[in-house]
Structure formats: C-alpha cells, structure tokens
C-alpha cells in the first residue's frame, strides 16, 4: 500500500509547482519574448517581434564582454582561494575544534551578515580619512594605496569576497573531514603512513566530492556576484567592477535598454545551465 497515492502526491506538489510557474515560468517566457522584440518602457505590453537584434547588440557590446570577463575571473579566483584556505583551516584546526565546538561560532559569523552590509562596512574600513586600514598604513608605512580605484578595485573586491565566504568552504570541508571513519585513519597509521601521506593519499581523495561541490557552489556565487560589489563600488572604478549581474541591472534601470538587459539575462541563463549540466555530469560520474 502506497503511503501517498498518485492523486495525493500530485495535490501536495501542486501549490509549489503553481507558485514557481507563476513567479519564474512566466517571467522566463516574458524574457524570451522580449529578448527578440523591440521594446521600451512605453511599449511594454505590445512588444514587436524583430528577431535577434538584441542578442547581436549584446554580443557586440564590449561592456558585456568586460562584465563576462570580470564575473569569470572573479568566480574562479574567489572559489579557488576560498577552497584552498578553507581546506587548510579545516584540516589544521580540526584538533582544536573537535572538542570545542563553540569555536565554530565566530568562524561562521561572516556567513550571517548580509553581503551588502559587508560591502558597506568596507566603505568605512577602507575610507581614506575614517577607515582604520589607510590610517594604520599611513602611520606605519607613510603611504596607503587607493583601494577602490581602477587598478586596485578588482583585487580589493576579491579579498572582500574571499574573507566573507571562506567560512562556507571551511564548514563543508570540516564536516567532510570529520566524517572520515576512524578505522580508515587507524588503518593508515598502522600501515606506517605519515600524517601528511595519509592526508594526500587517503583523506583528500575521500573528500574529493565535497571539494568539487564546494568549488562549484562558490564559483556560481562568485560569478553572479552583485550585493557586495554594488554596495562597495557601484559599477564605479571606471566600470572596472561591472559583474554580469550589475551589467544587467545597469542596462535595465540606468540605461532603460530593456531588450539588451533581457537578452543578456537569457545568455546568463544558458551559461548557468551549462555550468549546472557540467556539475551534474561530474558528480553523477563520481557516484557511479
């Protein structure tokens, strides 16, 4: 006897599916129509289909490719750094944290603060008169770089993102590291493997699925970054910090270029599908 029969199952799923169709399915359809239309704020309800001009405009836009490049570099570099630092912290600090789980709380605090708030806080931290970082750099070295100008903004934002989200990678690795069965470790040390060898040949391979997943999650989040970048620099610094999300936002709200913004959205959607497909393929292969 099935606990939930077919009709009941459908009834339980319907509210969720209906809600998502209304709030995501409908907008997705609108996206597709508008992306091949000529549309402005005046003609929202009667877009005229004109083909792929919007896509051509987006793909010919240097700013678009600049944004793609920013998002790509930002996503890869932050994910890589977060995973490496997080892995180091998880392995190195486990003996300390295993018996004192309350120490996890301060390590997790950055995850509880809104990225937009963190961005605003760094405006203070890095401000040339009110911020402690430039103050102490001047005090000690007599000079302080302009953290948010064209040359440095990208690196500054990398550090901001990495410092906030390393705890996420750390947390996943800490859990995965703790989940390695004791017998595995004992067997390794009985066989005379040094701690370092056991880590490299036994523990890391066991953690590999978590490593891959953490990298992809952080890459996706870094790629679509908006909040902290927008709060800290806007698209300022000479447009050198325009992520793809900020590009779409600007095109729509500042430029009123609806067709272009929508076409860029569809491109971003296809790109994220490709990444997801890759991720599912990799983890699916790992499971088999």
């Amino acid at each position: 006897m099935a606990i939930v029969n077919r009709a009941e199952g459908r009834a339980y799923l319907t509210p969720l599916v209906g809600f998502l169709l209304f709030f995501l399915g409908f907008p997705a359809a609108v996206n597709l129509v508008y992306s091949i239309s000529t549309v402005s704020f005046e003609t929202l309800r009667s877009p005229s289909l004109t083909g792929f001009g919007n896509y051509a405009a987006v793909l010919a836009d240097r700013e678009f490719w600049g944004a793609v490049s920013f998002s790509m570099r930002f996503g890869v570099l932050t994910a890589l750094a977060e995973c490496l630092i997080g892995l180091f912290l998880a392995v190195f600090l486990t003996p300390l944290l295993a018996r004192r789980s309350y120490l996890m709380a301060p390590l997790m605090l950055p995850l509880m603060v809104a990225p937009a708030m963190i961005g605003l806080m760094y405006r203070l931290v890095l401000h040339e008169f009110a911020g402690p970082v430039p103050y102490y750099l001047f005090e000690w070295f007599g000079d302080s770089p302009a953290f948010l100008d064209v040359d440095n903004a990208f690196r500054t934002l990398l550090v901001v993102e990495i410092l906030q989200w390393t705890p996420f990678a750390f947390l996943l690795f800490y859990m995965a590291y703790a989940a390695i069965p004791l017998e595995v470790r004992e067997a390794a040390s009985l066989d005379g493997a040094s701690a370092l060898k056991a880590l490299w040949w036994i523990e890391l391979p066991l953690m590999l699925p978590t490593l891959v997943i953490a990298f992809f999650i952080r890459f996706i989040d870094g790629f679509r970054v908006f909040d902290n970048v927008y709060a800290l620099t806007g698209s300022g610094a000479g447009g050198s910090t325009t992520s793809l999300s900020i590009y779409i936002y600007q095109a729509f709200f500042k430029g009123g270029a609806i067709g272009k913004a929508v076409a860029a959205s569809v491109v971003l959607f296809l790109a994220s599908l490709a990444v997801l497909y890759g991720l599912n393929w990799i983890t699916g292969r790992g499971r088999r």
Binding site: L20, M104, A116, M175, L273
Partner: protein, 273 residues
Amino acid sequence: MLNLLRWLVFSIAVLAMNFPVIVTVITSLKSARELSFNPGFWIGEPTLENYMRVLGETDRFNIYSYLFNSTVASLIGTGLAIALAFPAAYAIARSEAGKRTLLPLIINLRAVPLIIFAIPLYMMYQWLGLLDTQLGLGLILTIVNTPLALVILVNAISDVPAELDEAAKMDGASSRQVMLIIIRPVVRPALVTTFIFGFITAWNEFLFGLMLTTSRAVPMTVGASFFFAASGGGVQWGTASAVMVLGALPPALLGLLMYRQISASLTAGAVKG
C-alpha cells in the same frame, strides 16, 4: 607547540574574516569628534550617542520602518516557503511523485542567478501593484528560500522510517493526517532549522529589495545604504556604523544561537543536494 600555532591560526582567521564587523562596532561607539582624529582601533571615550541618534531622530531615515519591513517580508518569505515545501517534500519522500524531474529542477534553481528573472518580475509587479510592498518582497524571498527548504525537508522526512506512516494508515488515518499529525512533530527540528536559515537568508537579501522597493517597503539591507548617500558634509560614519550594527544584529544573533543546526543543514543542502 603545534597547538599554540593552531590557536594563532584560529585567531588570525577569526579576526581577518570578522574584520569589517569589528571595525564597524568600534566606530559605532565613537563620538563624531573622536572619529575626526582617531580612526584607529582604540576607543578613547566610548559613547552610545550614535545609537541614541539612530533610534531617536527618525524624521529623515526611519530605521524602525526598515527593521519592520525586513521582519515582515522575511516572515512571509520563510513561512510561505515552508508551507509550500513541506507537503511537496512529504510527497517526494513518500512516493515517486516529483522525484525524477521536479526535485532536481528545484535544487538546481539555487544555482541560477535570480537576476535573470528580475526584469520581467519588475514589470509583472508593476501590473499587479506589488511594487514597493512588503508582500511583494516576501513573495520573491519565498522563491529564494524554496530550494533549500525543499532539500532539508525531503532529507528529514526520508530519515523517518516509513513504518510510522504505515502504522498510522492501518489505524485509519488519511495521508493528510499522517503528514500533519504524525510527521510534522517528528521533523520539527528540521522545520525550525529551515525557518531560521530561511529567515537569515531573507533578511540578508539585497538585490530584489533594491529593485522592487523605493520607500514604503524598503528592507534593512537597502535602508542601511541610504545612510551612506553623502548628504552635504559627507557620511556620518558613527551614525552609519550604528545603523549597520543594528541592522546586522537580528540574523547574527539567530545565527550564533543556532550555529550547530545551521552548519548541519548547510552541509546537507550542499552535499546531498
């Protein structure tokens, strides 16, 4: 010796990762006069005047309304997400319905940048009159929260032995009764975690608050940035810091109280998802 090194690394990591929060708290406790000559870590004369001003002078920027808007929108966004996800999770865990396509589809939704839906949603909200309303923001936050809520609840219900349901059905309970009277209390911890986690996520959301609200329904994350809009004489750093501390406090307190449950569900959501 090695242990000492571990403590050192731990301290550096905590200080570095919480650095902006620490600086903001310090700044919020300094008077405007002190800030003009002392941007360092030392507080000469600690004062609460910034907090007094933020909580007392509300004629231009009303922090109470931002806090209230964030609370209402986050409660809608979390409560509705659970109300929608719980029956769906029960159906997925206890039958074949939705397991093959719907669950993976919704899980993958977490990885789709929601900004791609933002522009049609903005227009849709304009037609529906939902722009600049707490309900409108809450509905979007529901979408943000749904995927993780579904994953956590499916995992939690799957961990409950199905014999429990079968026994109740033998006694003549309908599946609806089983779900609400038997299963709901059993997975209460997961429901609480989902709620806390969802509330924090919703409170910290920024993009949709920025786009869909302008004055009446502005949430805290967006409201905080108003204090940075230089208004003649530049930013009042002490005031702005007090605003950020107050605005970041609710999710931070929730998170610190519940960090164990949250870390468990974060990992479950990432790895099992």
